[in-house]
């Protein structure tokens, strides 16, 4: 099956369909599991949660050209939940920004693949992140810049619900709606599990849609499963369906998705993957690739 995925990846500029994205995501998720286990450091839970979302952005949605990573008119993506760095690096490498082998150097001394994304060291990273709560303000600045320079590039900002605990996020929500900025999309990886516990235990964000709407944002009515690529593609259609800005999309996701004993568990937010867990998880992740591959190639 790996060979078939490689065939897909030989043409990364192609706009992938839902089944292709689904297979790629399964493949990336397994690679992330490998690297996190090998390195004994990094964040599995939030990375497994956003895998389909980031894969779909880079292999279907973003107007980008990895050969020209600083193009002024490119779409921007800010991973405000920067701890999901292994997810971003895996996708960027496979999209052609840097060698896939380098991902193995993740978090090692001397590696450019820092613990959290760094824009001055890593091609394809549009903004350094790591301290939660920054992303939306910066994305707002990019969106304002796009308008000032008469460009029409779009800025996508991904947060988790934990990231939205930060007051700065709500400052940005206010200001973005004040200026009705176009081409700014907030993507919420809503897995409802934070670091210390569940969202309900740590900081309930119930009625998130109402909160965002009250802050003047245009929010999706339909529910989207952020671990299902067909739903993600529908959400992209929704984004394109009208000209009301700024837009927020809430994606229901599962933290630790793909490895049953890590799903929905805050304890797997940043835990080292021990050998025994690794082997158990690997079986599930490989099976997932197999199934998605079969669906795609039948």
């Amino acid at each position: 099956m790996d060979a078939k995925v490689k065939t897909l990846l030989e043409n990364p500029n192609k706009k992938m369909n839902s089944d292709e994205l689904s297979l790629l995501s399964a493949f990336f998720r397994k690679n992330m599991w490998d690297v996190l286990h090998q390195r004994g450091t990094g964040h599995w839970g939030g990375s497994a949660s956003s895998t389909e979302l980031i894969t779909s952005l880079y292999f279907n949605r973003l107007n980008i050209e990895p050969k020209n990573p600083k193009d002024k008119k490119r779409d921007r993506f800010i991973l405000s939940k920067g701890h999901a760095s292994i997810n971003l690096y895996t996708v960027l490498a496979n999209r052609g920004y840097f060698p896939v082998e380098d991902v193995k150097t993740f978090r090692q001394f001397g590696s450019y693949l820092q613990g959290h994304p760094c824009m001055t060291k890593i091609l394809g990273v549009d903004m350094s992140t790591g301290a939660l709560g920054h992303g939306l303000s910066i994305g707002l600045g990019m969106a304002l810049a796009s308008k000032l320079s008469d460009d029409s590039y779009c800025t996508y900002v991904m947060t988790g619900e934990g990231c939205l605990n930060e007051g700065q996020s709500w400052e940005a929500l206010m200001m973005a709606s004040k200026y009705k900025v176009k081409n700014l999309v907030l993507m919420i990886d809503y897995n409802k599990v934070q670091l210390d516990g569940t969202m309900e235990e740590i900081m309930p964000l119930d009625n998130l849609k109402d909160k965002l709407t009250a802050f003047g944002w245009h929010v999706n009515n339909e529910k989207y499963d952020g671990n299902k690529t067909s739903d993600i593609l529908s959400s992209f259609d929704w984004i394109d369906s009208d000209d009301i800005w700024p837009k927020a999309v809430i994606y229901d996701t599962i933290k630790g998705k793909g490895v049953s004993f890590t799903e929905g568990k805050n304890t797997w937010h940043g835990k080292v993957i021990d050998d025994e867990s690794y082997e158990k998880g690997l079986i599930e992740l490989q099976k997932d690739i197999q199934e998605k591959g079969v669906r795609l190639w039948k």
């Binding site: 920054h134 303000s137 304002l144 200001m175």
Partner: protein, 308 residues
């Protein structure tokens, strides 16, 4: 003529706005105080009032800078330094984005608002952030020069401004070459001023000259990079130095100078004049400054102590 630094700043923003279409200005609901309102009147589409939300303002500026604009963020120095620190460090300085951070009402200059508004820790904070240059202009000329300088940089600059009309010192082009300005040559003692303390240091030097001492007077608007060459050369000669700043004596300009003295094995007598690690209070600006020792009289007294 004495012109308040903030008025000079607001006017300078407007002037630069004419020649720099990439210049954008942000404020956090204090544009009437910082005078960035002048820019808003001239260039409304390049001005963003972000509301009372300094962290978001600084982050927004980082986004604008990453896309090729030259943002100037304006707010009270204390609120930028304390509420925007994470964003200044992680979004601006870490990425070396050329944002100009203009801290208004620096030091004790928001005198009647009291300690909650007086900024005596901002320099210590900004100085410890890599990539970030730190300037404390002495008068309105230097404030304009600082903007000019900052716009030529490809890295971020913190400019700490003052609220009130203060005496002007002679303009020098040395400043924008990142040099300290030698105002008087002398042999007995080195006096180094930072920020609005420059005019007090000048008066004190004159009085000391009258008493028969030869003072080497230096003004150093730059806290970082510090012109170690000029400063250490003078201290090696006089072996006595007084620094004066409108800041806590912990972590600010005097700390920068003393670190450089120790690092370079220079032996000297040293006195730092500034706020002595205490929360300040409400009152008339000049009265406050002199209460905390930032005055001609105290400079003369401290100099005489070291000299004798």
């Amino acid at each position: 003529m004495e012109i308040a630094m903030r008025d000079a700043w607001g006017n300078a923003l407007v002037e630069k706005g004419k020649t720099h279409p990439e210049l954008v200005v942000l404020d956090a609901d204090v544009s009437g105080s910082t005078k960035s309102i002048l820019f808003q009147k001239e260039f409304p589409s390049r001005f963003f009032n972000c509301g009372v939300a300094e962290a978001n303002m600084v982050g927004t500026a980082a986004g604008l800078a990453s896309a090729g604009f030259r943002p100037v963020v304006n707010a009270f120095a204390i609120f930028l330094a304390l509420k925007g620190t994470d964003q200044i460090r992680n979004a601006i300085a870490y990425n070396n984005l050329p944002v100009i951070i203009a801290g208004a009402y620096g030091g004790l200059s928001d005198s009647y608002d009291g300690a909650s508004h007086q900024s005596i820790a901002d320099i210590a904070i900004m100085r410890a952030i890599p990539n970030l240059k730190v300037i404390v202009p002495s008068d309105s000329n230097q404030a304009e020069q600082a903007l000019e300088y900052a716009l030529k940089q490809e890295s971020p600059v913190y400019i700490r401004l003052n609220r009130n009309p203060m005496p002007e010192i002679e303009k020098s082009e040395e400043f924008i070459k990142e040099k300290a300005i030698k105002m008087i040559d002398g042999n007995d003692i080195t006096i180094i001023s930072n920020g609005i303390t420059a005019s007090f240091a000048l008066e004190a030097s004159k009085e000391l000259e009258e008493k028969g001492y030869s003072v080497e007077l230096i003004n150093s608007p730059f806290v970082k990079p510090l012109d170690e060459e000029t400063i250490l050369k003078s201290i090696r000669k006089t072996k006595k130095v007084i620094t004066i700043e409108e800041h806590n004596i912990i972590g600010g300009f005097s700390s920068a100078v003393s670190e450089s003295i120790v690092k370079n094995n220079v032996c000297c007598k040293f006195k730092a004049i500034g706020v002595e690690d205490t929360f300040t209070q409400t009152g008339d600006y000049k009265e406050l400054l002199s209460f905390y020792g930032i005055s001609k009289e105290n400079i003369v007294n401290q100099a005489l102590k070291i000299l004798n």
